[in-house]
Symmetry: C2
Subunit: 198 residues, 2 copies
């Protein structure tokens, strides 16, 4: 039962949480070390390239969590519109209860780093693309044609990302709930168009 894997994982876990909530530049390496109970030497053994390398792994870890959580929520509703709406309301509830981002969004670290680190930018880009695809696939399952579905998936993903920013800054899930309320308009027209041709 060595700490071979655990130390590394614990570091990524802690870094992921702090980078997501406080941001990349506001989070010091020392803070990550103290909160994870790791000495500095171990960090540089596991992540020789330092903070940026740790951030890359933290972003990927956060991305996996966000993606799998979204997929699981979407899968609990057969109807894609209901599924997407409840995924939005789920985040709104999280923000109302606990006033910060945890396994919800990488917007902060993405905006902080896209100009300074191409590696981190690309990691964030891939996650954003994946989220759009997850929404798109749910729509495809309900009969919307692929082209429309991928367009809508990206629009929905971006809209929710913006909604999270609004909700966090306003300290209220309301902006997200307004988005949830308007979402059917975005989806129904497309699904009607495809169904009209039947």
């Amino acid at each position: 039962m060595s700490s071979k894997v655990n130390t590394r994982e614990k570091l990524i876990e802690t870094a992921s949480k702090l980078f997501e909530t406080k941001g990349y530049y506001a989070t010091g390496l020392n803070e990550i070390l103290i909160e994870s109970g790791t000495p500095k030497g171990s960090l540089y053994y596991h992540f020789p390239k330092g903070k940026e390398q740790l951030a890359l792994e933290a972003i990927n870890s956060a991305g996996e969590k966000i993606k799998s959580k979204l997929e699981s929520i979407l899968n609990s509703n057969i109807n894609p519109v209901d599924a997407i709406i409840s995924s939005i309301e789920h985040i709104a509830t999280l923000i109302d209860n606990d006033q910060k981002i945890k396994d919800m969004s990488i917007s902060l670290i993405a905006l902080e780093t896209y100009l300074t680190s191409e590696a981190l930018r690309k990691a964030c880009e891939e996650i954003f693309t994946s989220l759009g695809s997850i929404y798109a696939k749910k729509l495809i399952n309900s009969g919307i044609n692929e082209n429309d579905a991928y367009k809508l998936g990206d629009v929905i993903a971006a809209m929710i990302e913006g909604g999270m920013t609004y909700s966090l800054i306003k300290k209220s899930g309301k902006p997200l709930r307004l988005i949830a309320e308007q979402t059917p308009k975005l989806l129904n027209i497309t699904s009607m168009e495809t169904k009209q041709s039947n």
Copy 2:
């Protein structure tokens, strides 16, 4: 012709640009001073409370620019749907040409500071609220009822904010253009509903 006002304004201007693009924590006071050609002593004369006070004024300055720019674009189209679409496409073009935020979004500094500075959080919240209202007022002018208009205004503002994040990270105006393309669906239904009762 003293620098009484100019030094102060120049500092706010420079800080505003750097905070918007690089972020609050990644931007050092020294960087602001060098780029604006101001000695450190002057900064603390004009902003005794230091970086946070400067940031507050920088956020408000950026907010005013963003708001007035949006209003001017929306006013150049009578039709509210066309106006909103072209405001989105305008930002998309800016991002395609110049790969960073300038007088477009305060999302970055908002997400960086909402947990650590209530003053900055409130400043950002006010701007987000104002942007929603600007879209709402354009919709009200076209006959949409006030209640729906304010809901839609916030949704549109949040959606565009998320679209900017997506476009910046993807280094492409495409996400914003997809949003512009889908926007009529969001707006037409409401406007149809209100017009159907005529």
